[in-house]
Amino acid sequence: MKNRSDLFWKIVVYAILIFGVLIFIFPFIYMILTTFLTSAYSLPRPEEVFTARPNLENYKEVWMEYEFYRYFLNSLLVAGVAMVGSLLLGSMSAYAFARFEFPFKELIFRAYLFTMMIPLVLAIVPQFTVINNLGLVNTYAGLWLIYIGGGVVGSTFFLRGFFETIPKDLEESILIDGGGKWRIFWNIYLPLSKPALGTMAIFAFSGTWDEYFVALTIIKDEAMRTLPIALMMFQGQHASNWALVFAASLIAIIPVIIIYIIFQKKFVQSGHSEGAVKG
């Protein structure tokens, strides 16, 4: 008796969970199916979508003829550098706040926190003037400055707490060897924070990979456009050709999904790995 009702409830729970998965995954599947349609000039009917035969024609067209390979590489460059920069700068700042005492520390930190809560849409214009004064309009350097400089607050906030959980005793071995703060930072804090850094990496990458508004203002050159800009432009021109639009869209989201799947194991462990850290 008991077993049977147990089984019943197990099935119900699985059913609910799988239903949830469907809700989250189905739109992606529908999107992928749509990319298999050829000459979809108007809104394709669901019947057509479900009977579409897998082929890569639209991907080829988007990738080569519409030069998405170029925007793809541009975005990879922009997001790759921004990710590494954010991680480095964020962990340095976080280390400063976690392991140093200095006047106005908490005041500065609160100022940081405060800025995280304010909408920064309007900051685009002043940010742009700064970049312009540096002569970096229409360069990736300008874009990186904004992405990395503007993102420090978030990564500092995130990593500080993590660094604070790392026992100070670990530093002693380095100090005995005569090493300084930098070596402690490189040899202790960074390696022990891999789960947190991995999580950060995903966010830093996907955040800049997807960034539209700043990139639109800074980048003027057609050949330098990033994927979000290319996508919006492409959608504007091929509004009703959903098959092409989604082929382009998939190209734009696949790298982030791959990175996520690679890093996500760390992500999971980050909840439990503290035991190892504490030793």
Partner: protein, 425 residues
């Protein structure tokens, strides 16, 4: 293990980054080619039009002006204004831009554009161009651009649907249009008159004007008494009547299908659109030729005559360009007969140059004649710097009326008052 994966990934992304850097730098390296003046030109041409620009216009100009090189950038419509604003604010605007005619006075007021009256040979150039498009560059006593191409919209019908309701020729009057639409809808069409939207005045002005409505006085200084005149209210009421009867296609309030699709498949009877309807569709490889399934004619006449709306683009030179002379050379050249003919014949964009517009080869394009004819009576949207804000108010109230949330008279009174207020700020 973990470290390896992480460093592998980093290496991967860095590697790819380097490749990307290599690619993009080789492309953008074309800037410094000897002592050539490089002109940065932003445009928003469509695909077919861009092809003509790149393959015909650019080589022709550069051959004539070996000291100038054109750097063409096709800008996305989406977010375009933001791009231009940021460019102007940061001294990062291009030298020249092909800009929608309604933006010129707005950017001129900001001080972003160069006044062209003083340029070498301006008066002679002005003489060769049509007056109406030229006037769209006028702001506060000066000209801030040259008209590059002009256009307007005419009425385009699905031939079969039209014939099935007993019209062998396109309706000549608004009454006939209404009658034909009614019959078409009764016979099962999803829509008769396809007003493409309510988001911009461009969409509905041909009907509003032809039915007798008006926007402002002739000097463009007053909306009250014009936008809300008895005739204007009546015109709007007629449109509302059509909508309530179901004569207007669902696309107006955002429904499906779109106008081109609706006409092609005979779901809609009529649409108003510009010459690109033909030039683009004729160049789509997988589609039927629109000349086969449509008939076209000027907008039917109503109490206000047959009034369409003038659109088009002007060439402007930005104030912070440091190559104004070369930019002017190009601007002038683009409005000369040769360039205007190339663009007109290649794309169906209507020349602003009087001679080019009469060119037999251009007039041979089957759909052009009616557009040129329509241009004689077409009207510009109010050329004032505050237009986008004024348009916002008018459009908002129009939409409210069409959705039955506001009474036509009340809506136009309100819009006229707000428009005057914006104008006098």
């Amino acid at each position: 293990m973990k470290t390896r994966k992480l460093s592998f990934l980093l290496a991967l992304s860095m590697g790819a980054s380097l490749v990307a850097a290599g690619c993009s730098s080789s492309d953008s390296g074309s800037g410094n080619d000897g002592d050539k003046v490089v002109l940065d030109y932003w445009h928003t041409y469509g695909e077919q039009e861009e092809k003509v620009l790149v393959e015909e216009i650019k080589p022709a100009f550069e051959e004539e002006h070996p000291d100038i090189e054109l750097k063409l950038t096709r800008m996305p419509q989406e977010g375009l204004k933001q791009q231009v604003i940021a460019g102007v604010a940061g001294n990062a605007a291009p030298d020249i831009m092909r800009m929608d005619i309604v933006w010129v006075s707005e950017f001129a007021e900001m001080g972003a554009l160069t006044e062209m009256g003083e340029m070498d040979g301006f008066e002679e150039v002005k003489e060769t161009l049509f007056e109406a498009p030229m006037s769209t560059n006028f702001y506060d006593g000066g000209y801030y651009g040259l008209p590059l191409n002009t256009n307007t919209k005419i009425a385009i019908y699905n031939k079969e649907v039209l014939e099935s309701v007993g019209y062998d020729e396109a309706p000549a009057t608004m009454e006939e249009l209404e009658d034909a639409s009614r019959k078409a809808v009764e016979a099962g069409a999803e829509g008769g008159i396809s007003i493409a939207g309510v988001g911009q005045t461009w969409d509905y002005l041909p009907y509003f004007w032809s039915l007798g409505g008006s926007l402002s006085n002739e000097d463009y200084t007053k909306f009250d008494g014009y936008l809300n005149s008895e005739e204007s209210v009546k015109a709007l009421e007629t449109i509302v009547g059509w909508n309530e009867e179901g004569l207007i296609s669902p696309i107006m309030l955002g429904g499906e299908p779109g106008t081109w699709e609706g006409i092609e498949k005979g779901q809609y009877m009529m649409v108003d659109d510009g010459p690109w309807f033909f030039s683009i569709l004729m160049n789509e490889k997988d589609k039927q030729n629109p000349l086969d399934y449509t008939t076209w004619a000027p907008i039917p006449e109503g109490d206000g005559g047959s009034r369409s709306v003038i659109g088009g683009e002007n060439l402007v030179i930005f104030e912070n360009s440091d190559k104004k002379d070369a930019a002017w050379e190009f601007t002038k050249w683009m409005t000369e007969e040769e360039a205007q003919k190339i663009m007109g014949i290649g794309t169906g964009l209507i020349p602003t140059n009087r001679t080019a517009a009469q060119d037999p080869e251009f007039l041979e394009l089957p759909f052009i004649e009616q557009y040129v004819k329509q241009l004689e009576t077409a009207l510009p949207r109010t050329p004032i710097p505050q237009w986008s804000e004024v348009e916002g108010e008018i459009t908002l109230n129009f939409e409210k009326v069409l959705r039955g949330e506001m009474d036509p008279k009340e809506a136009l009174d309100d819009a006229a008052a707000k428009a005057d207020q914006i104008l006098n700020q």
